[in-house]
Every structure is written in C-alpha cells, then in structure tokens.
C-alpha cells in the first residue's frame, strides 16, 4: 500500500508556501521533513491522516529498507545484513537481527535432490550408505526420495507445478550444491547427532577411585542407576563401540533396571546411540591398521552389510507378525480391502475392569463421550 496522501495538502494550491514543493507527488511525500508537516497543521483541528510512525516507516522503506525489497539471485537478503553489503561473507546468514542463535541453514539444491533419488532408487544403494556419502541425515534422504518420487508422478500426470516459485526460493536461500566431477561433495549437515537423553540431565556425585578407568559405558550405567559392571565383563570391553555389534543384532539384549513403572533400559554409550555407529569402528580400524586401507574399507563394508541385513530381517519379522494377526477380506468386484483384526482382551488393551476408555468396541455401561463438550476430535495422526 502506498503512503496515504493528505488530500488537503495535495489539492490546495493556494498555499504553496506552507506545503513543501514535493507534496504533489505520491512517492516523495514520505521524505518531507516532519517540521514542515507540523507547521502546515497548526490551524487544523482534524486528526492527521498520516501518523508520524507511518511517515517514519515509509521513510525507512525508501532508504535502508529499499535493499530488502528485491533479492539478488544466489544471495541471502536478510535484515541483519547482506553478505556483500556488510563485507562479512563467511559469517552464517541470520534472518533475525535480535537472535544470534538462529541461522538460516542451507537446503538441498535441485541437483543434489535428484542425485539422492538416483542413488537410492536407481542404483539401489541403502539409505545408510547414501547418507554417509553425501553427508545428509537418513530421515532427510527418505523424505527426499518420497518427494522426488511424488514430483515425478505429478509431472507425468501433467499436474500444475510451481516452477517459477521454486526457482525464486532457491535463489533467495542458501543451498548445498552437488559436487562437480572431481570435486569433493560438501556435507549438508552433521549426520551423527546424539540426542540428549533426559536421564543425563541429573547432576550425580559418583566417587570413583582415580586408579580405575571410568568410561562412557560406566557413565551410562550410573545415569540409569544400574550397578557397576562386574570386572570380568568390564575387562572384555576394550572400547565402548565393542557393544555395537551385539546390540544391532539383538536390540532386546540391552539390560533393564528398575521395577514396574520405573523399569528402564540401561543407557548405552554414545558410540551405540549415534545413527552411524559403524563409523566409529572404521576410525578405530584406520588407526590400528594405517597401512591396510583396502582391508579396513572391506571390513567396514561387511559390517554395514551385516547391520543392514539384521535391520531388514527385523523389519520383515515385525511385518510378518503384524500380517499374521490381520485377516484380509476383498469382496468380489469391490475396490476395498477390509483388514480385520481380532480384539485382544488383556489388561493392557481393555484395562483392569475391561471397560477402559481406549478399549475396542462398544462396552456396556461405558458411555460414548464423543459428543460431549470439550472432547477434542482433531486427529492425532494420519496414516500414510
């Protein structure tokens, strides 16, 4: 919206000496100095149509704010300073001048997105491998594959796309480009993020003799309140990443402590909990055998393969178990597939008295509360 023109000032040509000479043009009205404005209004009793704040705003928009109106392709254009305007090009782009902790981080460029799709879908590489190669989080890779798949489908169907919009957005925000041939791919984001476990928030005073080596495994046991490992067991663990293989093969092998409500699994060391635990093993091998590069990579590949096989098997087993309890009914000529699952009447599914609100089906004496005031019916999840 253009600044409002004071109609009296524009039309009244009889008083040229009271108004400034530029008053008749819309664009320059914001630049008139406030003193002349005041001066021109000294006999007026009507409220000012253009407030001081509005005037200041349009003044700012026409001077300092003018650079923010349009972007320069390939550069960010934030309030806290354009890279070229302020000369600090290597500093992270910050959209909010008042918040130093929020950084506008790079997004995947179109080429990189397509490359991810090609590697996963066409070259049949695993998410884990592509994640390590390109330095992209595994969840993001899965999402990219889903989105590119969808995009291709929509292109094939001839649905409308927002191509000029996409181009403009990629010009405005930082992007991670795909490396050219012979270049090293710049990593998009840290892939080995360790989520801070709530039980590590406590400050615990735990005395340990100085002669004893206190490792990450021991620290995890202390945080989860488990007794210290026996010496025979502890001696077998030369490095916390030795635990990785067993836990990947059988996640249920993690020890439990506490009873009833308080039962919890023993907190595992960071080497186990990071998304790519095999990379620690790789580093260890590299250090131990600096001259056997090929053998080290070979062993790493084997370990990753083993891990993927184990994960795949577990997924299949879970799927089979689920399928076993579901009966599929597909009536002839129908486009529906009915999945019928027997209700299980256990304490967990129906509550102690068999009438818990989350129990399946209609139950005698338990009123349906869905029409009551204040019952929230907004879905909590949508099946993909």
């Amino acid at each position: 919206m253009a600044p409002r023109i004071q109609s009296r000032r524009v039309s009244n040509a009889l008083l040229p000496y009271l108004t400034s000479s530029q008053a008749s043009s819309t664009s320059s009205i914001s630049s008139t100095c406030p003193s002349s404005q005041l001066f021109s209004r000294q006999f007026s009793a009507t409220a000012a149509p253009q407030t001081k704040l509005r005037r200041q705003m349009f003044q700012w928009l026409s001077t300092e704010g003018a650079a923010l109106k349009h972007h320069i392709p390939g550069e960010t254009n934030y309030l806290s300073g354009r890279a070229d305007r302020d000369g600090d090009s290597n500093e992270a782009p910050r959209p909010f001048p008042g918040n130093r902790t929020f950084i506008s981080e790079a997004v995947l460029s179109e080429d990189l997105r397509n490359e991810v799709y090609v590697r996963v879908v066409e070259k049949k590489k695993s998410l884990r491998a592509v994640s390590v190669e390109l330095g992209i989080d595994m969840k993001r890779i899965a999402a990219v594959v889903r989105l590119v798949e969808m995009e291709r489908r929509q292109r094939a169907q001839g649905k409308p796309l927002a191509l000029p919009y996409a181009r403009a957005v990629h010009e405005m925000i930082p992007t991670t480009p795909l490396a050219q041939d012979g270049e090293r791919q710049t990593f998009h984001e840290p892939i080995n993020d360790l989520p801070a476990h709530p039980s590590t928030g406590a400050q615990i005073f735990y005395p340990v003799p100085e002669s004893r080596s206190f490792t990450r495994v021991d620290a995890g046991r202390v945080f989860s309140g488990a007794p210290a490992l026996e010496k025979a067991v502890a001696d077998k663990i030369s490095h916390p990443s030795d635990l990785v293989d067993d836990i990947i093969q059988n996640p249920n092998s993690i020890e439990w402590v506490g009873k009833g409500e308080n039962a919890r699994q023993v907190l595992q060391p960071a080497d186990v909990r990071i998304p790519h635990p095999q990379l620690v093993k790789l580093e260890l091998d590299r250090k131990a055998f600096p001259n056997e590069r090929r053998a080290v990579t070979q062993r790493h590949a084997e370990r990753v393969e083993k891990q993927e096989a184990a994960e795949q098997e577990r997924r299949e087993r879970a799927h089979a178990r689920r399928e076993k309890s579901i009966q599929h009914v597909e009536p002839e000529g129908s486009r529906f597939d009915y999945r019928i699952q027997d209700a299980k009447f256990t304490k967990e599914t129906t509550g102690a008295d068999g009438r818990a609100p989350w129990a399946p089906g209609r139950r005698y004496g338990v009123p349906a509360e869905d029409r009551k005031r204040g019952m929230v019916k907004i879905p909590t999840r949508v099946e993909a």
Binding site: G65, N77, T101, S104, L147, P164, Y165, P269, K287
Partner: protein, 437 residues
Amino acid sequence: MRNRASTSLSKGKIRQSWSKYNLYNLQRFRTPATANRTFFQQKWSAKAASRAYHGEQVREGQWKRMFSKRIRSVIPMNTTDLAADDGSKESSGRGSGLSSESSSGRSRSRLIPYTQMAFAPLERRLDVAIFRSLFASSTRQARQFVIHGAVTVNGQKMRHPSYLLNPGDLFQVDPDRVMYATGAPKTAFERRETRQLKQKSDEGEAEGEEAEAKAEATEKDEKEDTRDSLRALMSQAKTIMSTDKDVLPAKRKQELRGFQKAVRRVLSRSDTSTVLTDSLEAQFSELTLLLKAKRAEKKPTKESKKEVKEEAAPAATTKSEEATSGALSDAFQAAAEGGDVDTSELTDEEFDILKRALTQMRDNPIDHSKPYATPWRPRDYMSAFAFIPRYLEVNQNICAAVYLRHPVARPGSAEVPTPFGESISTPAYGWYLKRRW
C-alpha cells in the same frame, strides 16, 4: 476466528508475516528495558512480545497445555573423537580430565540455547509448518488455506490448522494457492485484463456457436502474450544496443557481458520442466523443432564461421560480442513473430540460451486468469523472511514438505525460528513453567 493480530505500528509487535509493516516492526524492535522493573514485569513483557509472534492464533490456555519444559537437544558427535577416547581420558584425574587436555573440546565452549526453544511445541502445528516451508505469507494465511481445504496431510485432506504433525508426515498445499500467496499482486491494469478475459469467456459460454472463434482469439492472445514476454526479455538487450555511440567500447562491453550474465542467471534453472497448457506446449515444441531443423542444415557453415571468429577474437572482442548478441536479439525477434528462424548466426551458447528462454517463457507464462501478477515474480520483501528450518524438507516444485523430526537445539544454535534473543525467551520460558521463577 477473528483476526485480532494487526501489525500496527504503534504497538510494534512482531508477527509471523511477510508484510512490510512487520518488517519495519522487526527492524525497530528493541529488547524491553529491565532497569527499575520488577521481575514479574520483565517476564510479563517478555511473554507478551514472544506470544505476539509465536502462536498468536492459539488461545493462551491451549498454549499453556501444549507447553513442555523439557527441551530437545542434540550434540553432533565426531567419530574420530569417539574412536580416540573411550571416555576414561575425560573422566581422569578428579573427574573432569587432566588439565592439559581439558581445553581440547571445541563444542563445550558453545552453550546450547535451551530457552530459545521455549515455543518449539507450536512448530508442530500444521499452519505454522506451512508458513515455515514458505508456502504462505503469514500463519494466518496458512490457516486459511487449511480451513479452505487446500492442504493435504499424507494424501488426505486436513481441515484442522491445529493438527500436530508427527515426524514423517508429508503435507502438500495447492500450488496455485502458494503462487498466489508468495507472488506479487496484480496491478490495476492486470485486474482490468482479467475482467475483460472473464467477460469474454462469459460471452463465449452464452453463444455456443462462437466457441471456435473464441478459441482462435485466445490462441491469438497467447501468441501475443509470448510475443510480449519475448519482447520484454529482449528489451534490455535493445537498450544496450541503442545507447549512444560515444560510450567507451570497454564500458559497452561490460554492459553487454552484464546482460548476457543476467539472461543466463534468469534462465539457469528453467530447463527441467515439461508441464503446461496444451497450446503453449505445442507452440513451444514447434518452435524448438524449427530451430533444430534450421540448425542441422546450417551446421557445417556455422562451424567454419566460428573458426574465423576465433581467429579474429583477440583483435576485436567488443565487436564480435556486439554482433553475437545482435544475432541473438534477431533470433528472438524471429521466434516471437513465429516465422522462420535463421539460426545460422548463433553460437552454441546462444542457441542454448535461446532454447532456455523459450522454456522459461513456457514455464512462467502471462496468464490473466491467475489471481497473481503474471509472469510470476516473488512479492516484495519476501527475501527478508525467506529461510527454511532444518526440521522440514521441502520440495517447492510440488509445494510439498515433510516434517522430518521435532526441532532441536544444538551447541550454539536453536532450530525454532524466533526473532527474539535470550533476554526475552528466557523470562518467557520462566513464565510458563508450572513452578514459576
């Protein structure tokens, strides 16, 4: 829900919006003073300022129920560091490492800005996530898109703006709405064109027999449109060509190079699309076919010419550049008029540029039936607000995004986009704790 969220200048509140009023408020916002104010007053004003930005469309009681004092954070682990030490080095001595080695940690020196994540639960909301993925120009608009049924979650229409996204949820907004929300508005002239187009189509509907004539007319219109856009593309070149002869040749050369670069930059991303209306598509394919055929004929002669040019290049670069861009403009002109195109004068590069110009024209056509200014261009001041947080993965082409995970804090940075520093977010976080500070 009535929109009480005005961006008034007198209050100076910051909102989740791309309006220029908001930009001005953001620019002039100062942290409220703490001197001579009680702790309660400090918390109150911090809360008021941050709630005006974070979920002003959410009732206070609703937000209080959503608030969680537990804040998610991650530490990026370095595998080399993990391999080098099993933790015993860090716990050696009196429990915090031997003094000589304790200075090795880099990330330890950077604190995790926990309280900057105070409003993280609101980022799960569907309307906020749509705004964060740059699909709407304000959260209010995103909310309207959801209510009007333009948004799907995992392929199903979702009409609740307060739906809390789960990690892995895919949401998609109607691309036309996104283009409308993020594009520049129509000018008065364009609005008039739209009205005329609408009147024309209404008349066409009334009289069935005129349908054919109408189709012809629209075809003609489209042809004219393409001609217009091509002309606009070439106008810059022409202005360069027509400037005074007295200008220094070096200066002219610079200008020419600037133009060529500009054209290349404009066209750099447009060569991946295949979708548009039929007639334009046909037109485009015809043009490109024509160009290709011409090109195949003239190839040998052109190559010899190129050699000659290369020999002459160091002597008169300016001249040749002028000549080539002149050829480019001629070719554009020819393409625009729909007649035969003489591509013999074009270099490989220029041919490529021409082709991409045509593609660009097809992708971003002049179409008065759209609710935004065409050809589409981003709205003013959009770039000042354009960022996409890491917890979203967005595909702008189809206007779809995946909510990957909940936002987290990490050493030195927080993922929740907030315009306020810790001097505001910390008292605001304290305000919402059950046991208030």
